[in-house]
């Protein structure tokens, strides 16, 4: 059922946005904020493939662009997460992957998202972008994404099998 899949993904994304902005971001993390929304998009893409991955990435990114206190240009996170959702779903779609591999690719995707955010912001003339902060963000976000993906990616896959069994024939 398509609507059950949509409902599951919408719930996961809204939860992730609220938790990232109210629970994770206010805490004094080293370096950067743990990228929960990105990890959830990765989990969805690795469970359902490129189309759902791209749509989930677009939706999650748009929520991050719009939910308060976001003030940055609308569409940047949506664009980046769309491409990452598609890419992850495309490359790692076909069958069950080992945990270390999903962890590595999620962390890689997180690193790409940091670079892409800075590059897009810089291209669009955002004076906030400071490239000397980027290496710190990069290291922190990669580490946090790896740790978050350990429970989140298998968790989302198990949940997906439970809620939308017809998407997983085997």
């Amino acid at each position: 059922m398509a609507w059950r899949r949509a409902l599951l993904i919408a719930t996961l994304l809204i939860l992730a946005v609220v938790i990232e902005l109210t629970v994770l971001a206010p805490l004094p993390w080293w370096g950067a904020t743990p990228p929960l929304v990105l990890v959830v998009v990765a989990g969805v893409a690795l469970s359902f493939g490129p189309i759902t991955g791209a749509v989930a990435g677009f939706a999650g990114g748009l929520l991050l662009d719009l939910a308060p206190p976001a003030l940055t240009t609308v569409g940047i996170a949506a664009l980046i997460l769309t491409v990452l959702g598609y890419g992850l779903g495309r490359i790692f779609d076909s069958d069950e992957r080992p945990l270390w591999l999903t962890t590595v690719v999620t962390a890689l995707a997180a690193g790409i998202s940091v670079l892409a955010t800075a590059a897009l912001g810089g291209l669009l003339g955002d004076v906030r972008v400071r490239w000397d902060d980027v290496p710190g963000f990069l290291a922190a976000v990669i580490v946090y994404a790896a740790f978050l993906s350990l429970p989140c990616v298998p968790g989302i896959r198990a949940l997906s099998r439970r809620v939308v069994p017809e998407a997983f024939p085997r």
Partner: protein, 292 residues
């Protein structure tokens, strides 16, 4: 193969939509065509963030207390020392009574120009890797908050309200790289423009007078804006750390440390009523004498 074609089509459509959004938002800005979208999201996510913050608040204070433990130990030592010094000073208290009376009178005067504030709590923070320094407060238009109001905490100026939902408000912090505040050196009344740098502990002040006397330790307060929006005059902003005169540049730049620690905020105040715009009496020139 067909599946892949469909996936590529979806990808292209979504990328196109994203880029359209970016372009529309960049051209339109605040109040542009995307404003309804922002308004709806704020109305939906405001209550969600408030709810989550209420649940998570005790956990957060605990984690922050743990993270602050070293600082607190240093604070305790410092306070113990200060306490001893103060105890010695108490003996001279009687001498200072006259000065207290004078200060009291000053305080009465200050109350005349004081500001009304609405207290609010920080409930959400923008992710650090997004480069912007913004927070969400749990007070909105229903509490009398509107765009352009200044936000303070016990330390000093924190930022200004840039968008308001029914029960939340988004604040642009003064350390954000796009934030500028008119500043005045408290001692010499020299004015300048205080800009954020994107670093939580550093702001820069461009002094308009290149020969202005300024040294580290000087206090910077707000210069004040038209009818107190966004910034009422006289609110402490930061303290000068160092001064660098750039050769070839007409203005000198002072590096400031903001008074308000934006990384550890919980309760802040929103200025809903700036001080009276003109609390001073008008001095009328005497008429000119005949024949002079």
């Amino acid at each position: 193969m067909r599946e892949l074609r469909k996936a590529r089509l979806v990808l292209a459509l979504l990328i196109l939509t994203s880029i359209t959004l970016i372009v529309v938002d960049l051209r339109g800005g605040v109040g542009g065509p995307l404003q309804p979208l922002r308004t709806v999201t704020t109305a939906v996510f405001g209550p969600l963030e408030r709810g989550a913050a209420a649940v998570i608040s005790p956990v957060q204070s605990f984690v922050q207390a743990v993270a602050n433990w070293g600082d607190q130990q240093a604070t305790i030592d410092e306070l113990t020392m200060q306490n001893e010094q103060l105890r010695a000073q108490v003996d001279t208290a009687d001498v200072d009574r006259d000065r207290v009376a004078a200060l009291d009178a000053l305080l009465g005067l200050a109350a005349d120009t004081s500001v009304d504030i609405v207290p609010a709590e920080v409930i959400a923070v923008g992710p650090a890797q997004g480069f912007a320094w913004t927070v969400t407060l749990d007070a909105g238009s229903g509490d009398g908050v509107s765009e352009g109001m200044a936000v303070l905490n016990g330390g000093g100026l924190v930022g200004r309200v840039v968008s308001v939902g029914p029960d939340t408000a988004t604040v642009l912090l003064i350390v954000d790289a796009t934030s500028t505040v008119g500043g005045r050196l408290a001692g010499s009344a020299q004015i300048g423009i205080v800009s954020g740098t994107g670093r939580q502990d550093l702001m820069t002040m461009q002094l308009l007078d290149p020969l202005a006397p300024v040294q580290s330790g000087d206090v910077v307060v707000t210069f004040g804006s038209q009818s107190g929006r966004p910034y009422p005059p006289g609110i402490p902003v930061g303290v000068v750390e160092s001064v660098s005169g750039t050769p070839g540049q007409l203005t000198r730049v002072a590096n400031l440390t903001p008074y308000a620690d934006v990384s550890m905020m919980s309760i802040v105040g929103i200025v809903v009523n700036p001080p009276r715009t003109d609390p001073r009496p008008v001095i009328t020139a005497p008429p000119l004498a005949e024949g002079s």
